[in-house]
């Protein structure tokens, strides 16, 4: 009798622990960097922050802004004052309240910390004040249409001010549904459910484990072997196998970023070649390259052709600029008009297998139209430096993408833009893009971006090739997961069936 009781007790206990110790294991492509939203810079870091920290506002799958810490917001003073009303039921993981004072402290830190990477995002903010215990206001030096988008990401994330003096990058204390437990660099980051989160009952996992597994084959093998529940960034070459695998769910989504070819069109020595000096040669290159072919051959259907920098989900993606179809004859004619029979140039790119495949394909397609491209796979950090120094002719490189259209264009093509490696400079484009930052009215901005694109699609300092996809793969046990264009994991309501 005693033995049976004991056995029953033991089984119930084991069963209980098995059910409540529900873990959700995510395979990441890289190891995140410092876990401080104000100083972090990686995409995978943002994935971790999504569960660890709450932010003022969030985005939905149509890139509209939705409440999170803030329940409501409004513009006043000719779009130079932004007021947020905050929830009154949120606390930080250390128990301190998330009120207006804490929010102001965070925004001040994001603006003033010397190595804050959010400073340029909040450049238009002149001052921040706590209006009352649950209301804050930001006063701007000029209207800034991009501000809401910035506050829907790391710039709007809230850390506990009590930890500001500590080494919070290795032990972050936020207010999100999960709190930080531990991290072993290159191995795993472990988060645990935060019981005092107001929405705690909608999060069904007790622990989240993020594991960076850089090799995409091994990452997929882990998922198949049951050691992971989901992974991000499937290698396109594995797409067919995954589509045909009944035990996996394939959920690709077109992201906010793009991959393209940046041409050096400045005044430097390396830009003095037909490609860099004559826009007709660049237009010919565009005609020689078939984006749909790249999507087919290398992308396995995942590389949505891109003609413009704005993602398909964005209201600023303009149907006035359809994807240019490959036309070898037209390319040859343009080259002839520019006075060249054959044009040769050097195309550098970051050394990975996907980029290599894409650029070999570009090389092959462009040869038919009269381009002799020499490929130069380069180590990424070295390539970044060469681009900044203007020591390149053309580089195939991408951009991770931002919610606001300004984030995908302004710094790349304005004369003083920090990311303007192509050294393109056009006063009209500058004026149009600067104006587009000042008004939050969507229709007005659409008109301004269209006018700017009319010039840019003709000059082609950057030839966009495809929209960066976020190919998520999940095991069949995962329920109610939805992929978002920003590539982030929103785990509210997601569960594992046993």
């Amino acid at each position: 009798m005693k033995k049976t009781m004991f056995a029953m007790l033991a089984t119930t206990m084991l069963a209980a622990t098995a059910a409540s110790a529900q873990e959700f294991r995510v395979g990441l492509q890289e190891d995140p960097d410092v876990l401080d939203p104000h100083r972090a810079r990686t995409f995978v870091g943002r994935i971790v922050f999504m569960s660890l920290c709450n932010k003022l506002i969030d985005v939905d799958s149509d890139l509209n802004f939705v409440p999170e810490i803030a329940t409501a917001w409004e513009w006043s003073n000719e779009n130079k004052r932004l007021t947020f009303t905050l929830r009154d039921d949120m606390v930080f993981h250390d128990g301190t309240p998330l009120n207006a004072e804490a929010a102001v402290a965070n925004l001040e830190r994001a603006r003033t910390l010397p190595d804050s990477l959010r400073r340029s995002e909040l450049a238009s903010v002149e001052s921040v004040e706590a209006v009352d215990e649950h209301t804050i206001a930001l006063n701007l030096s000029r209207p800034d249409a991009t501000l809401l988008a910035q506050l829907s990401d790391r710039a709007g994330m809230m850390l506990s001010p009590a930890t500001f003096e500590s080494d919070l990058g290795t032990n972050p204390v936020c207010s999100g549904p999960y709190k930080f437990v531990s991290r072993v660099q290159n191995d795993r980051i472990v988060l645990e459910k935060f019981a005092d989160h107001p929405d705690a009952d909608q999060y069904h996992f007790e622990r989240l484990i993020f594991q960076p597994i850089p090799d995409s084959t091994v990452r997929l093998a882990n998922l198949r072997a049951g050691d992971l529940d989901m992974l991000e960034r499937l290698n396109p070459s594995d797409a067919e196998t995954v589509r045909n695998d009944a035990e996996l769910q394939f959920m690709p989504v077109a992201g906010l970023g793009y991959q393209g070819i940046t041409v050096n069109v400045g005044d430097g020595e390396r830009a003095q070649n037909p490609l860099g000096t004559d826009k007709r040669v660049r237009q010919a290159l565009q005609l020689a390259v078939g984006r749909d072919i790249i999507n087919d051959v290398v992308g396995n259907g995942l590389f949505d052709p891109a003609q413009q920098p704005f993602p398909p989900a964005s209201p600023y993606n303009n149907p006035a600029f359809p994807v240019v179809e490959r036309d070898v004859e037209a390319a040859k004619a343009l080259l002839a008009e520019a006075g060249h029979e054959r044009v040769s140039f050097e195309l550098s790119f970051g050394n990975n297998t996907t980029a290599m495949a894409i650029n070999e394909l570009v090389q092959a397609m462009a040869t038919e139209a009269g381009f002799d491209i020499s490929l130069r796979p380069t180590e990424f950090a070295a390539m970044q430096q060469e681009m900044q120094a203007g020591n390149f002719q053309a580089t195939q490189i991408g951009w991770s993408g931002r919610v606001d259209p300004d984030g995908n264009l302004h710094q790349f093509v304005t004369c003083e833009g920090t990311l303007n490696d192509s050294n393109y400079c056009n006063e009209d484009v500058d004026r149009l893009l600067n104006e587009a930052r000042l008004t939050p009215v969507v229709e007005e901005r659409q008109a301004l971006y269209q006018a700017a694109q009319d010039i840019l699609q003709d000059d082609l300092p950057i030839i966009y090739v495809y929209h960066q996809p976020w190919p998520f793969v999940l095991s069949n046990a995962v329920q109610d997961f939805k992929p978002y264009p920003d590539g982030m994991l929103r785990l509210k309501g997601v569960s594992l069936s046993n």
């Binding site: 190891d31 401080d36 810079r41 010397p114 340029s120 191995d187 594991q211 950090a381 070295a382 991770s400």
Partner: protein, 315 residues
């Protein structure tokens, strides 16, 4: 014995200084700005200027090097530029992992390689010998990242016998730890075993043809006694040297294997650090590895003396 050790330690110091200086110099020559790697995509000029000053990246080479050296002598190995974690913490986290991988790999290699070499030498010229040689050659030729991925596909995905990747510390769960390390150490061991087998074979062959072996056989000793007690003991010297040197190399981190199996050891750490121009981490790991290698050399010499009585007393 103590004199030998003391002398070796003294010689080690200039070696370490030279190695660290060369590696530091190589990193500085590498194209690529570490700040671009850590300052984020947006390249805020203010942040770049602040970080450049904070990490003194504009100072002349020797100023930077001696600043680093000075800190090391007080125990401060600096911080990772990428994550802010202290380098000493990183080393403390990853050294046991690499040690475990190295120990398991060398044990498996010795268990496979040395007996195979002995059998191959004793049965020289027979089918067994040729078979063993063929296996050794394939072990040395098969790229270990390929072997690793194939093993993951078969053993983890299809048979579900072992975890596909990752690492569990011995102190947390010894069984699971051994399970996660089984495939990586096996993969590393295949190449090492092949090496050991070939060297054991040639060492044994050299010894088996000597006079005292003939005498031992003539005396009527059991073949097993002849081979193991007389021949092997004399042949051990080159095998011991090779094993300790191989172990030292393993301590440097089996980069490809660690990448494939996602083992958070030294190899992965240093490769990532080089790609992100994380100077402090590279210097710390190189120093650690160099110390480890020098130490293993010393161990090899001591083992020499222990195994061969003739070396104990100077002539």
């Amino acid at each position: 014995m103590l004199k030998i050790i003391a002398r070796r330690v003294l010689v080690a110091i200039p070696t370490l200084v030279l190695v660290s200086m060369i590696v530091f110099g190589l990193q500085k020559i590498l194209p690529g700005d570490p700040l671009l790697a850590i300052a984020g995509e947006e390249r805020d000029p203010q942040v770049l200027a602040f970080l450049r000053e904070k990490y003194r990246l504009d100072d002349p080479f020797f100023v930077q090097y001696f600043a680093w050296l000075g800190n090391v002598l007080t125990g401060d190995f600096g911080h990772s530029l990428r994550t802010g974690v202290p380098v000493s913490t990183l080393i403390a986290q990853k050294l046991p992992v690499t040690l475990q991988l190295a120990v398991m790999a060398i044990i498996i290699a010795m268990l496979i390689g040395i007996p195979a070499g002995i059998i191959s030498a004793v049965r020289k010229g027979t089918a067994t010998d040729y078979a063993a040689n063929a296996v050794a050659l394939s072990g040395m030729s098969i790229p270990n990242f390929w072997l690793g991925i194939i093993l993951i596909m078969v053993v983890s995905v299809q048979w579900r016998l072992l975890p596909a990747s990752g690492y569990v510390p011995l102190s947390v769960d010894p069984i699971q730890s051994l399970r996660t390390m089984a495939m990586p150490s096996f993969v590393l061991a295949t190449a090492l075993a092949a090496y050991l087998m070939r060297h054991t074979r040639s060492a044994m062959l050299g010894v088996l043809s000597s006079d005292y072996i003939r005498t031992a056989r003539a005396k009527g000793l059991l073949p097993r006694s002849v081979i193991l007690k007389h021949a092997l003991r004399n042949a051990l010297m080159p095998i011991v040297t090779l094993s300790t040197l191989l172990f030292g190399e393993l301590l440097a981190g089996a980069v490809l294997t660690e990448q494939v199996f996602t083992i958070p050891g030294f190899g992965k750490l240093i490769v990532d650090a080089v790609f992100t121009r994380d100077y402090a981490v590279v210097q710390g790991v190189v120093l650690c590895t160099a110390v480890g290698f020098i130490f293993m050399n010393l161990v090899a010499d001591i083992l020499y003396i222990l195994i061969n009585p003739r070396l104990r007393h100077p002539q």
